[in-house]
C-alpha cells in the first residue's frame, strides 16, 4: 500500500490555478522526484502535503488514514517533514537550540538532543557541532541541520524542496546519498528539482509537472531523459537551444558552447577595474577580502561561487547600495567606489540587481513609470509630467525589448517575472552613456523562454562593446554565457577559466576553496 495518496488536489491563489486536479501515489521506501519548471506547481504541492496551504479541492491519505493537515504542526505529528527552499532556522541561535525548537519538554534538555545527534551522525553521516551558531555555518551545513531536524522525529515522509539549488557539486553528492540512505530505511522521500542530472542519480520514480498539471509519472529504470525534458517544457528540446542543454546538465557533462555566429569580440581595453576591494558588513565580518578583477570592453565575465561568499556584496557595492571598506573601483576612468547610485549611473553603469522586487523596480507603479524611473526629468515640461510622450517612449522600448504587457500603464506587479526582468534590462540597457552592465542573478525565477531572451540581450550588449559582469549561482548559466569565469571564495577570487576550458569539476573544486586545478 502506498504511503501517501493524493487524489484530485486543486489549489488556487486568486485567479491563478497553481495546481489542477493532481492525483499521485508515493510508495514506501522510494525516492520520488518532482520535476518541472519554475511555476509548475512543485513547491505548492509540497506546501499542501506539509500543511502550509490547504487544498481548494481533493483529498489526501497517509498510511491509509485521511490526511488533511491544518498546519505544519499537524503534518509533523503525522510524520511528514519538509526541508524548505528557504531554510527555517533561527539565525542567532545554536544548532542544538534550533533542534529543540518545537519539540522539547517544558524545561530544555540539550543533552538529549546531543545524544540523538550522535546517533544520526552514525546512521547517516550527518555530522555537525551542536554548539555552533546558525549564522556562522555555511549554506551546506545549514541544510544539514535542516535535515537533522527533520530526521529527529523518525518521520515517514521527507519532503525536500529544491534542496540542491544552493549547494556546490560535492555537497550535492552527499545530499543525494543521504536521500538514498533515508529511503533504504523504509521512509519515503519527495525531492523537488529542475535538474535532470540529479534525478537520474537518485530517483526511483519521477513525476513531471507543467502549469499545475501532472504530465507523466515514470519509473526511472530505463527511462528516456530526453522525453522527460520534453514533458517538462512542453516542446521539443532543440527549440529552447542552449538554455536547455545548460539546464538539463545530463550526467554533469559540460554543455556545448552556444553557437553564436559573431563569436565574442576579443576583449578590448578595461572598462571595469576593481582593485583590492574590501568590504566588512555592519557586524564587522569581512565579506570581500581583497578582491581584484578587470572586465574589458566586449567581454562577459562570470562570477561563480557558492552563495554567501561575497558575490551578493560585490553586486551591492557596484550598484552603489553599499560602500566598500577599502579598495578602488574604476569604470571607464571614473572612480565609482562608494559613490551614490546616481553617480554610478552617470558613469555609464547599468545595473540588473539581484533582488528584482526590492531594488530593480517599484511593483505598484506602472511599466512606463518603471522604465523611466531614473529619467523622470526627461518628460517634464515646466515641472509638469508629459505623460503621453512618456507612454510613447515606453511603448517603443517595450517593443524593442519584447516586454509583453497590455499597455505601458498597467502596474509592474501584473507582469510575469520574465517580463519584469525584460523591462529592467530595457531600462538599464537604454542608459546613455553606457559602458558596463552588471547582471546579478538575472534569470532567477524566470521560465525557459524568458531566460533565453535575457541571455540574448546580454550577449547582444557584449557584441555592442559593453563590458558585462554576470553574477550567478547557476553554473550552467555561467558556462553558457560567459567569455571568462572567475570563481569567488570567501571574498576573494581564487581562480579563473577562459571559454573553452570550462569544466564543472574544475569550477566546482575552486568554489569549495581548492586552489587552481
Amino acid at each position: 500500500m502506498a504511503l501517501l495518496e493524493l487524489s484530485g488536489l486543486t489549489k488556487r491563489f486568486g485567479a491563478f490555478t497553481a495546481l489542477d486536479d493532481i492525483s499521485l501515489l508515493i510508495e514506501r521506501g522510494e525516492v520520488h522526484c518532482l520535476l518541472g519548471e519554475n511555476g509548475a506547481g512543485k513547491s505548492t504541492l509540497c506546501n499542501l502535503v506539509f500543511g502550509v496551504h490547504r487544498p481548494d479541492a481533493g483529498t489526501m491519505t497517509l498510511g491509509g488514514e485521511p490526511f488533511d493537515p491544518r498546519g505544519p504542526a499537524e503534518a509533523l505529528q503525522r510524520g511528514v517533514v519538509m526541508v524548505h527552499q528557504h531554510f527555517s532556522l533561527v539565525p542567532n541561535m545554536s544548532v542544538a537550540e534550533n533542534l529543540m525548537l518545537g519539540r522539547a519538554s517544558a524545561v530544555l534538555k540539550p543533552q538529549d538532543i546531543i545524544v540523538r545527534m550522535e546517533q544520526l551522525a552514525a546512521e547517516y553521516g550527518l555530522e555537525i557541532d551542536p554548539e555552533a551558531r546558525i549564522d556562522e555555518l555555511s549554506v551546506g551545513e545549514r541544510q544539514r541541520v535542516e535535515i537533522i531536524k527533520c530526521l529527529l522525529g523518525d518521520p515517514q515522509l521527507l519532503v525536500l524542496d529544491e534542496p540542491t539549488a544552493v549547494l556546490q557539486p560535492g555537497e550535492i553528492d552527499a545530499l543525494l546519498a543521504i536521500c538514498r540512505q533515508v529511503a533504504l530505511r523504509g521512509k519515503s522521500v519527495i525531492l523537488v528539482t529542475h535538474k535532470l542530472g540529479e534525478i537520474s542519480r537518485v530517483a526511483d520514480r519521477t513525476t513531471v509537472l507543467r502549469q499545475g498539471r501532472i504530465i507523466e509519472t515514470v519509473t526511472m529504470e530505463g527511462a528516456d531523459i530526453r522525453s522527460l525534458v520534453r514533458s517538462m517544457v512542453g516542446r521539443d528540446v532543440q527549440s529552447a537551444g542552449s538554455v536547455l542543454a545548460a539546464a538539463v546538465d545530463i550526467e554533469g557533462k559540460t554543455p556545448a558552447k552556444p553557437s553564436d555566429a559573431a563569436g565574442p569580440v576579443s576583449p578590448g581595453e578595461a572598462v571595469l577595474q576593481i582593485s583590492d576591494l574590501v568590504y566588512r558588513d555592519p557586524h564587522g565580518v569581512p565579506r570581500l577580502d581583497g578582491l581584484s578583477l578587470t572586465v574589458g570592453t566586449g567581454e562577459i565575465v562570470g562570477i561563480a561561487g557558492v552563495e554567501g561568499n561575497g558575490q551578493t556584496e560585490l553586486g551591492l557595492i557596484l550598484a552603489g547600495l553599499a560602500a566598500p571598506s577599502a579598495g578602488a573601483i574604476v569604470v571607464g576612468g571614473t572612480q565609482v567606489g562608494g559613490c551614490t547610485p546616481q553617480e554610478i549611473t552617470d558613469a555609464g553603469v547599468g545595473i540588473v540587481p539581484e533582488d528584482r522586487h526590492a531594488v530593480a523596480c517599484i511593483k505598484e507603479l506602472s511599466v512606463a513609470e518603471n522604465l523611466f524611473l531614473g529619467a523622470i526629468g526627461k518628460f517634464s515640461r515646466f515641472g509638469l509630467l508629459d505623460k503621453s510622450a512618456r507612454r510613447k517612449a515606453a511603448e517603443a522600448m517595450m517593443r524593442d525589448f519584447d516586454v509583453r504587457a497590455s499597455s505601458p500603464d498597467v502596474s509592474m506587479a501584473s507582469l510575469s517575472g520574465g517580463n519584469q526582468q525584460k523591462a529592467v534590462l530595457a531600462r538599464e540597457l537604454s542608459l546613455d552613456p553606457l559602458v558596463f552592465l552588471l547582471a546579478a542573478q538575472p534569470t532567477r525565477g524566470l521560465d525557459v523562454g524568458a531566460i533565453e531572451a535575457v541571455y540574448n540581450r546580454i550577449r547582444a550588449a557584449r557584441d555592442d562593446g559593453l563590458g558585462v559582469l554576470l553574477i550567478s549561482s547557476e553554473l550552467e548559466e555561467l558556462m553558457a554565457v560567459s567569455d571568462r569565469i572567475a570563481v569567488i571564495y570567501r571574498g576573494k577570487l581564487v581562480g579563473e577559466l577562459a571559454a573553452g576550458a570550462f569544466s564543472r569539476e574544475a569550477i566546482g573544486a575552486m568554489m569549495s576553496g581548492h586552489a587552481h586545478v
Binding site: 505544519p72 527555517s88 533561527v90 541561535m93 537550540e97 525548537l101 518545537g102 524545561v107 530544555l108
Partner: protein
C-alpha cells in the same frame, strides 16, 4: 548626615525603580516574542487606579494588587487580539490605549474619589529584614522595602530562567527572531505571542499596583508619569537582556531620586531640571544605543503564514 541622606537616596532610588523593573522585565519578554506594547504605560496606570480602588473598597492591598493585575491583563489581552490576531499597527494600538487609560482613570478617579482626594488607601507595610540591614551604606535601604519590591527582582530572575532554560523561552526567542522558522518547527506563533503579551500585562500590572498600594498609598491623576515609556526605553537600553535591562531601570530610578537628594544636599540645581533628568537620560540612551544593540528581527512585525 551624609550617610543618612545617602541611605534615603538609595532607598528612594530603588523604590522608584521597582515599577519600571516590573514593567520593563515583562516588556522585554514580550518584545523578545516580537510584540511591542507601547500600551505599557496605560496598563500600569489602569492597574494603579484599579488597585487603589479595590484596596480602598476591600481594605486589602493584596486584593488591590490582584485586581490591578487582572485589569492590566485585560488590556494586554485586547492589545494581543489587535496586534497578533488582527495584525494592527502595534504603535498605533499602544498610543490609543495610553490615551484611553489616562482619560478613563482621570474620569473615574474624579467621579469616585472626588477631585481633590488625599485620603490614604490601605497599602503594604515595609518589611524590615534585619539580616539585610547590616550591610553598610546600602543595607538600610535594601532592608526597608515592601514585599513587592523584592518580588520585582525575583521576576527578573524568573524571566531570565524562562528565556534561557525553558522551551517556552526558546519559542519566545524564535518567534521574535524568525516567526516563519518557528511556525515551520510546529510552534504556534500566535499562542506564544499572546502569552508574551499577557506576561507583559501581568508584570506591568504589578508595577502599576506597586505605585498606588505599595509606594504612595494613594492614586493621583497620571501617576505613572511615563514610567511605562521609561520601561520600554530600559528594554532597548538593556539590549533585550534581562540583567542589563534591570541595570537600566535602576539607573532611571536613581536619576529620578536625585530630585530628593540634590535639594537635601543644598546644591543649587533647579528642581525642574532634575525632574527632567530621567527622561533626558532615556533620550540619550535611545539615541546612543538604539543603533548598536540588535533588536529582535521580527519586533512589531505581524506574522502571516505564507509560502
Amino acid at each position: 548626615m551624609i550617610d543618612e541622606q545617602m541611605a534615603v537616596f538609595i532607598g528612594s532610588g530603588l523604590r522608584l525603580a521597582v515599577p519600571i523593573i516590573f514593567a520593563a522585565t515583562g516588556e522585554m519578554l514580550s518584545e523578545r516574542a516580537g510584540v511591542l506594547n507601547l500600551s505599557l504605560d496605560g496598563m500600569m496606570l489602569m492597574s494603579a487606579f484599579t488597585a487603589a480602588l479595590a484596596s480602598w473598597a476591600t481594605g486589602s492591598p493584596l486584593l488591590g494588587v490582584a485586581a490591578g493585575v487582572l485589569v492590566a491583563m485585560a488590556v494586554a489581552a485586547v492589545q494581543a487580539v489587535l496586534s497578533v490576531t488582527l495584525r494592527a499597527n502595534q504603535l498605533v494600538v499602544g498610543i490609543g490605549f495610553n490615551i484611553l487609560a489616562l482619560g478613563s482613570t482621570t474620569f473615574l478617579y474624579r467621579e469616585i474619589f472626588g477631585p481633590l482626594s488625599r485620603d490614604p488607601i490601605p497599602g503594604f507595610a515595609q518589611l524590615n529584614l534585619p539580616w539585610l540591614a547590616h550591610i553598610p551604606v546600602i543595607g538600610p535601604a535594601l532592608a526597608n522595602q515592601t514585599g513587592l519590591a523584592y518580588v520585582s527582582i525575583l521576576m527578573v530572575v524568573v524571566t531570565w530562567l524562562i528565556l534561557k532554560y525553558t522551551s517556552f523561552g526558546l519559542a519566545v526567542r524564535a518567534v521574535g527572531e524568525d516567526p516563519r522558522a518557528a511556525d515551520k518547527a510546529g510552534i504556534s506563533v500566535a499562542k506564544t505571542r499572546y502569552l508574551g503579551v499577557l506576561y507583559a500585562g501581568i508584570l506591568a500590572g504589578l508595577g502599576g499596583a506597586f505605585m498606588s498600594v505599595a509606594d504612595s498609598n494613594t492614586f493621583t491623576e497620571n501617576m505613572t508619569k511615563g514610567a511605562g515609556y521609561l520601561a520600554i526605553t530600559a528594554v532597548i537600553f538593556g539590549g533585550w537582556n534581562p540583567w542589563y535591562t534591570l541595570a537600566a531601570c535602576l539607573l532611571f530610578g536613581f536619576a529620578t531620586a536625585l530630585q530628593f537628594l540634590v535639594p537635601a544636599l543644598q546644591l543649587d540645581v533647579p528642581v525642574a531640571l532634575l525632574l527632567l533628568l530621567p527622561y533626558l537620560l532615556a533620550l540619550v540612551a535611545i539615541a546612543g544605543f538604539v543603533g548598536k544593540s540588535r533588536q529582535p528581527s521580527a519586533l512589531t512585525i505581524p506574522f502571516e503564514r505564507g509560502g
